[in-house]
Structure formats: C-alpha cells, structure tokens
C-alpha cells in the first residue's frame, strides 16, 4: 500500500520539555489509525507536526511525499484540532460556504449540512454562538469541506453527546470505506478499539506499542502471578514454566506474566517451589491502560516487549 505519511526519527523539544522523543512510523493510504495515550503523551504535538503547523526539532516528516506545508497537501487534507475555535460573526451556513470555496473539489453543501447534524434553526445561528458540542460538529463538517484524502482529528468526540458521537463515527467509517486515510487521537482504549484498525500507543513522547487493537488489548490485559522474592528461587527456572511469558523481579517481588494464571499456580505448587505472599493480578482494559501509562510503571511497560 502507498505510504501517505512518514515520520522519520522525529523529536520535538519545547524549551526544556521533550514532547515527542525520537519516533518513527509510517501510515498507509486507507488506514484508520488511533493515536492513544494519556494527557501530555505527545499526541497533539505529533498530529500538529504531521499537519505542518509545528516543525519538528529533529527528524523528517513527509505528507504524501512532500513537506506537510506544501500547497498541494492543503487541498487534500482536513483536520479538526483539539481547541476548536470558530470564526465570529458568520452563520453556520456562511462558514460552510466560505470553506467550500477554498477547495477545488468541495463536498456538496447539503452533505456537509447533514454531517453537522444541526437543526434548521441552528444553521442560521452565528457559528461562535453555538454550544461547545455543536461547534465540534461544525468543525467536523469544516474538516471535510474539501473532501480530503487524509483526515486528522484531535480528540474529536470530546464534548459531543451520544448521538453526535455515533453520527461522527459512522461518517468516519464511511469515509474510510471510500479509501480515505483517517488519523485520530483519543484517551480511551475503548474508543480506539471500537473504531480503529490500528492503534499507536503513546506515552511520554514515545511510541510504546503499535499494532492491531486486538494485539494491543492483549498486551494491556496480560495477567501476572507474583510473590515475594527469595534467594532460593532461580528466575531462569521460573521462565521454563508453561504459559509464563516473562519473568521480572521488581521491588522485592517476582512477577510471572501469563495469560493462564491457574495453570502457572498449579505448576508452581507441583514443583514445590517455596513461594510466599502470592498475588494474582488481572489487567482489565482501562486499569491496565492506567498501569501502562503510569509514570514509573516499568514492569507492565517492559512486559509489552515479551508479548
């Protein structure tokens, strides 16, 4: 498949803060990608660099083969930024018409109107007088005004009600079916899992996992058996137990990572390994995500490599 975005060893440094730390990845035409990560992970910064709105401190980004800022790219991308701001004094319909005029092959006016999902009377309102969620609906329509090939959304559904959200994702999926590339950021694994075909997991400016939602979920949901460490137990020996994927010693405890905690426990007892203070951890989606992204959560983070 054709590569539409490529990031090559990208770093972005804001004064002392390293927002994005040496990441590399490519996105192909027609992908539907979620950039998942907690607050401050560097999601928006990465998106803004892809859009050419901020320059990376180091590394190279190309968008459809050119510098992101290239005029040709402007006609082929659409975006909804995290902070939605609306032009003042123009009505919803006027703003939509204005935006359509910028593009060589705009999307049909009626279609954009129906994408906003706004009521007849709201369409005549001033755009900056809309409610927060309504502004986001309008900015969704503006992002699509040029019938773009690549669409970027930074936390698109924040502030949308359930029906707006459903409408939004349905439209996004339709667009993706038509071969358009879609990249969005989110804090929610659930949302990424429901919609995306690929999840890029960010934490502290780095990509810590990248793959199909099912794989990411598995990495995030791995369980473990742990017990107090002591001198008689050999970590190498533990690693030979069936179903153990990884053995890590941390804070005076030994962690055996596995999808089958019962079997592992049975084996520990069968081998008569002297263990004390046993604990079983079951990662659940959101909990695991929180663990994963918690500062200093090296255990779970490093456990990802094992899967």
């Amino acid at each position: 498949m054709e590569i539409v975005i490529s990031l090559n060893q990208i770093t972005k440094q804001f004064k002392k803060q390293t927002a994005v730390n040496n990441i590399s990845t490519v996105i192909h035409k027609g992908e539907l990608v979620a950039i998942l990560g907690p607050n401050g992970a560097g999601k928006s910064t990465t998106l803004l660099m892809m859009l050419g709105l901020i320059e990376p401190t180091n590394g190279e980004i190309t968008l459809m083969g050119d510098h992101p800022k290239h005029k040709r790219n402007r006609e082929r991308i659409g975006a909804m930024l995290q902070e939605v701001s609306m032009i003042d004094a123009l009505t919803v319909m006027e703003v939509i018409q204005l935006f359509r005029s910028y593009y060589p092959q705009p999307m049909a006016f009626e279609q954009l109107i129906s994408i906003t999902g706004l009521q007849e009377e709201d369409l005549k309102k001033r755009a900056d007088k809309l409610s927060g969620g309504q502004k986001r609906r309008l900015s969704f329509a503006l992002a699509l005004a040029g019938d773009p090939e690549i669409i970027f959304f930074d936390e698109p559904t924040v502030g949308m009600d359930t029906s707006a959200r459903r409408n939004f994702w349905r439209t996004v999926e339709e667009m993706n079916k038509k071969g358009k590339t879609v990249i969005f950021t989110t804090h929610y694994l659930q949302e990424a899992d429901d919609v995306a075909k690929r999840i890029i997991l960010f934490n502290q400016g780095k990509i810590i996992a990248d793959g199909a939602p099912i794989d990411i979920k598995r990495k995030l949901t791995a369980s473990s058996v742990s017990f107090a460490a002591n001198d008689f137990i050999s970590l190498e020996m533990l690693a030979t137990i069936a179903y153990v994927m990884k053995v890590v010693e941390k804070d005076g405890r030994v962690f055996l990572e596995t999808d089958h905690t019962d079997e592992v426990l049975e084996e520990i007892f069968a081998r008569k390994i002297k263990v004390k203070d046993i604990n079983i951890h079951h990662g659940r989606l959101d909990e695991a995500f929180e663990q994963l992204t918690r500062r200093g959560g090296e255990f779970v983070e490093s456990s990802l490599d094992a899967v």
């Binding site: 005029k71 902070e83 032009i87 359509r100 005029s101």
Partner: protein, 244 residues
C-alpha cells in the same frame, strides 16, 4: 466560487456585524459632530462645520483601521483561528488581502455615511469634486493607520492590544487636532503635531475643504509612516515566527 472574493465578502460581513464597529466608527463620530457643532461651539460658521466634518470622518476611519483590524488580528491568533486557516489552501497573502479589501470597503461606507449625515445636520455645502477628493484622501490616507493596525495585531493578548490601541488612538486623535482645532492648542502641542501622522491625515482634508490641495509635507509624512509601520510589522512578524 472564487475563494478570495468569498473571503473579502466574509470580512466585510464580519465588520458590519460587529456592534463595536457600528458604535465607535459610526455612532460616536456622528454624535461628536452633532455636539461640537450644534451644542457647543455654535455659530462658528460654515467653514468650521466642513472642517469638523472632515475631522470626525478621519477620526472614524483611523479608529477602524487601528482598532478593528488590530484587535481582530490578535483575537484570531489567540483563539487559534489563524492556525486553523493555515490548514486550508487559502494562502496567507490572500487572507491578508481580503482583510485589507474588507477594511477599505468599510472605510468607504463610513465616509459616505458620515459625510451624508454630517452634511444634513449642518447643511455643509462643498462641491462634488471636493466631496470626492476628500473621500479619496481619507481612504488613501488610512493606509498608514492600517499598517499601524497590523502592528497592534502582533500583540500577544487581546487585552493588551485593546488597551494599547485605545491609548494610541486617543493620543493620535487629540494630538492630530481631530477633536479640537490645532489653532487653539498650546504651542508645544502644535509643534509636536507636525510629527504626528494623524495631524497630516486631517490637514489634507482640511486644506481641501478650504479649496487648497494637501501639502507635500502632508503626503510625505503619511508615506513615511506607512513605510516605517509596514517594515516594522514585517520585521516583528518574522521574528515571532522564528520563535515558534
């Protein structure tokens, strides 16, 4: 539809729908004109009526050039709108051009309204060519103030921009003799005024209602300020872009 034309239309609509514009650029100058020719300073004669009509028109146009343009630019930047616009195919140049066209159309409109209302209030009689030339002068003379507006537009915060531009605007109006005729001002203000663009802006029009032409000094001072403001504005903008 042509994007530049659509953008111009949008800019014009936006200014018209701005209540501050209507209040400060139309209502206030006309009220001033009425007060200072019919309530105070009565019986000063036709020459004063025509003179002061030019003063308030200059005052109005100068205000919208500095304040409406400047504050709007800051607002668009701080709200993230300018950033969003950079994602569209509309170039920075086209965007800026549309703003200037919008301002100019608004200035033409203000000039026509204030001239019309003013001439009705006091029955000011000028020849057709005097009206037209004065209007042209005020329109072209507004360019240095538009450039000043773009300078204001480079400020970081809307509050600072509106505070600073208010002070500049009022200062320019008083020192330029737009509220009171220069002749009744203290000597030192009169000598400062020679260096102030607003004085030369007004002077050109004042000369014309007396049947003279704007002096070469008027023209050169305004052009000088235009160049200085444009160069400064471009220079500061470049410097700001490097930081980001």
């Amino acid at each position: 539809m042509n994007p530049v034309w659509m953008q111009c239309k949008a800019e014009i609509l936006r200014i018209f729908r701005n209540p501050y514009f209507v209040f400060w650029s139309l209502f206030m100058p006309i009220l001033f004109y009425f007060l200072f020719t019919n309530v105070f300073n009565v019986g000063m004669g036709d020459e004063w009526h025509a003179h002061f009509l030019m003063s308030v028109t200059c005052f109005s146009v100068m205000g919208s050039a500095i304040m409406t343009l400047g504050i709007r630019l800051v607002e668009e930047r701080t709200k993230g709108w300018s950033m969003f616009m950079r994602l569209t195919p509309l170039s920075d140049g086209a965007y800026f051009f549309a703003k200037m066209v919008g301002q100019t159309m608004i200035h033409i409109f203000s000039i026509i309204i204030i001239f019309t209302v003013g001439s009705f209030i006091n029955n000011v009689t000028l020849t057709i060519s005097q009206w037209l030339l004065c209007g042209m002068w005020i329109l072209l003379g507004s360019f240095p103030f538009l450039a000043l507006g773009t300078l204001v537009g480079l400020m970081k915060k809307v509050d600072t921009a509106s505070g600073v531009s208010n002070v500049i605007y009022m200062g320019l109006a008083i020192l330029g003799g737009m509220w009171m005729p220069m002749e009744i001002m203290p000597k030192f203000i009169q000598s400062i005024a020679q260096w102030i663009p607003s004085f030369h802006f007004g002077s050109g029009a004042w000369e014309m209602v007396r049947g003279n032409a704007p002096s070469l000094v008027n023209i050169s001072v305004l052009i000088g300020y235009l160049i200085v403001f444009v160069v400064l504005s471009i220079y500061i903008r470049r410097k700001q872009e490097v930081v980001v």
